[in-house]
């Protein structure tokens, strides 16, 4: 469903070139639950921004459902994010002093979904994300961290995305609520959602069926259900 081929990302600051991604290739099929792990600064977030069409690679190709989006314009990328991608961030990024329902409905505004449908879709997503009806009209800043993150998950679900990208979704949570959020992802994956999860904590990655490890901008390991692809295979 998505495939990256030899992707690089170079940040230039003055004369200094920072090669953050050094030729990354892999593909993710529908229904997979992939954890991308690696130490801090290895380029995980950079990769996720490219996978999420927030950014484009310096070189290499990125096929999203068969289309090479690596040279798409800003507006074309926005269109893909709108229709196909759901984001969950470490910092939740909810609109403050706004109800849970409105927060979750936000993506539907940009997708021109009619007002009557929005509420139905959003309410279902909130329940799917493991929250209750009593949360609908609570203000976002009156929720606990775990609840906030599940609101963010609900928000990532409303446009029925092909893929959900989560960048350290448990990073701001204690391990117990983090576990709760992970269960939510697992449940969603069982329901058929494709999920890519970024983390640097090994135990979080245990929930995923497939683990891709990056170090210094390169994939060093790609394990599916305990079976490792060799580095050679990865390079291909």
């Amino acid at each position: 469903m998505i495939e990256v081929k030899n992707i690089t990302k170079v940040y230039k600051t003055g004369d200094f070139e920072n090669k953050v991604l050094k030729g990354i290739s892999f593909s993710i099929n529908e229904g997979e639950f992939v954890a991308i792990i690696g130490p801090s600064g290895s380029g995980k977030s950079t990769l996720m921004h490219i996978l999420g069409c927030l950014d484009t690679p310096t070189t290499g190709q990125y096929f999203f459902e068969g289309k090479d989006v690596s040279r798409f314009s800003d507006d074309e990328l926005a269109e893909i994010r709108k229709r196909k991608i759901g984001f969950v961030f470490q910092a939740f990024n909810l609109l403050p002093r706004t109800t849970v329902l409105r927060n979750v409905m936000l993506p539907l505004i940009y997708a021109n979904v009619s007002r009557s449908k929005r509420e139905k879709i959003a309410k279902k997503a909130i329940i799917d994300a493991g929250l209750k009806e009593k949360h609908f009209y609570r203000l976002s800043n009156q929720l606990s961290g775990g609840e906030m993150q599940r609101v963010a998950i609900a928000r990532s679900l409303v446009n029925n995305p092909s893929i959900i990208l989560a960048d350290e979704p448990t990073g701001n949570l204690d391990s117990k609520t983090g576990e709760f959020v992970m269960q939510t992802f697992e449940k969603l994956n069982k329901e058929g959602r494709t999920i890519v999860l970024i983390t640097h904590e090994k135990y979080i990655a245990e929930n995923a069926k497939r683990k891709i490890t990056i170090r210094d901008g390169e994939i060093i390991e790609d394990i599916t259900n305990g079976i490792s692809k060799s580095v050679q295979q990865i390079k291909e």
């Binding site: 927030l54 507006d75 926005a78 994010r81 229709r83 990024n93 936000l106 505004i109 940009y110 007002r115």
Partner: protein
């Protein structure tokens, strides 16, 4: 993005911080309301002058003495020529076909005494046709008649204010005697009030036959003004031309530059008065608009702060699919909504203040649809102009950096 959503998003963003919004909008409110007040004061003045001038009679041409020039081309003073006569007036009536009526007049101020009370007032010596030309309405008794003029009758028609001054408010004065400049006159009529005028009250006035005014009161042969009523307002310019030619010929003047009279039509007076007031209105409105610009800068300042504060929100909106243009449009809508809100409140406040001015100080004000539409468009424009830069700033934010912004 539907327009209703755009408005709703902007609306809820604006009202998230009510105090700041209120303070920012206040600048626009003050600017718009002062523009409204200035324009309505100006238009009120224009229209009150217009009605005043129109109340003096319609299709009117006024001939006044001009500079009397000596051979050395030195003027002997403004309007000092003593060459206009009753015969000139008569000639205009008989020789120019579309002249409906003429009324020569000689006006001077005199001391008037009656039963110990006295007043100093304008005394107009004139003829019967004056009543028709100048829309003088008689309340009691009658106006000066042709017979009175022929006889040099010592009769007087009083304005209501003069009557009140001399005989007491609303008192019956018909048949009473007044002394003008020491000469006894019999009161034969009282005029109806015409209302105040910026050019001196037409209610504080005494009318006498012109012959009496010339021979008995002033001892002169000339007149101070000739009012000419034209049949049709379309003929005004032609009438002015023909009257000029006739008078030049009668006064033996070959060079029109040296004319010893001035011809002013009513339109000329209205036009020049309105143009003075318009200039003043524009000046005042321009001063008021400075406060609008200050208000606009306040809006820009607030929008800049908002964009910075909401950087993460902007990042999020971009991540869930908002285009650059969606973000730009939202912030532009917010600033226009702010200025529009300020505009609406400012217009209401401006109208209320205008009413207040009329109510408490009796100064004429007139709020026109034009000034309201102008205020609306100006507030809209200010929102666009001062919101454009912050909106651009918001739209240009890099979504990744925006999402990470602390």
């Amino acid at each position: 993005m539907f327009i209703t959503d755009l408005l709703e998003e902007s609306y809820s963003a604006i009202f998230a911080n009510k105090t700041r919004t209120a303070l920012t909008v206040l600048g626009i409110v003050i600017g718009i309301s002062s523009v409204i007040v200035m324009v309505s004061l100006g238009q009120g003045a224009t229209s009150s002058i217009e009605t005043n001038i129109e109340s003096m009679g319609s299709n009117l041409i006024t001939i006044m003495p001009g500079f009397q020039r000596t051979f050395s081309q030195v003027t002997s003073g403004r309007g000092s020529a003593q060459t206009l006569t009753i015969e000139d007036a008569q000639a205009i009536l008989t020789e120019i076909p579309f002249v409906k009526n003429v009324a020569p007049e000689l006006s001077r101020r005199y001391q008037i005494i009656s039963k110990g009370k006295n007043t100093n007032t304008q005394v107009i010596g004139t003829v019967a046709s004056y009543q028709d030309i100048k829309n003088v309405v008689i309340d009691e008794g009658s106006f000066i008649s042709d017979q009175n003029v022929l006889n040099q009758a010592k009769v007087a028609v009083l304005g209501p204010t003069t009557r009140d001054d001399l005989f007491g408010e609303g008192a019956n004065a018909i048949g009473e005697t007044i002394r003008i400049n020491g000469i006894n006159f019999k009161v034969i009529g009282i005029t109806k009030p015409k209302g105040g005028s910026s050019f001196g009250s037409q209610d504080d006035i005494v009318y006498v036959p012109i012959t009496t005014a010339q021979k008995i009161l002033a001892g002169v042969n000339y007149v101070s003004t000739i009012s000419v009523q034209i049949q049709n307002s379309k003929l005004m310019n032609q009438a002015k031309l023909e009257i000029t030619n006739l008078l030049l010929q009668r006064h033996n003047i070959t060079d029109p530059q040296l004319a010893d009279f001035n011809i002013v039509s009513q339109q000329d007076i209205i036009e020049s008065a309105s143009s003075i007031i318009n200039t003043m209105t524009i000046l005042l409105a321009a001063i008021a608009s400075i406060s609008l610009i200050v208000g606009g800068i306040g809006i820009m300042n607030m929008m800049m702060t908002t964009v910075t504060e909401r950087t993460r929100e902007i990042g999020l909106r971009r991540a869930i699919g908002a285009k650059k243009s969606d973000i730009g449009l939202q912030f532009l809508t917010e600033s226009v909504m702010l200025t529009f809100l300020g505009g609406v409140i400012g217009i209401i406040l401006g109208i209320l203040i205008s009413y207040g001015i009329t109510f408490f100080t009796n100064t004429a004000t007139k709020t026109s649809l034009f000034s309201i539409i102008l205020a609306f468009s100006v507030s809209f424009l200010i929102g666009v102009i001062f919101g454009y830069w912050p909106a651009q700033k918001a739209a240009k934010l890099n979504p990744i950096e925006a999402l990470r912004y602390e």
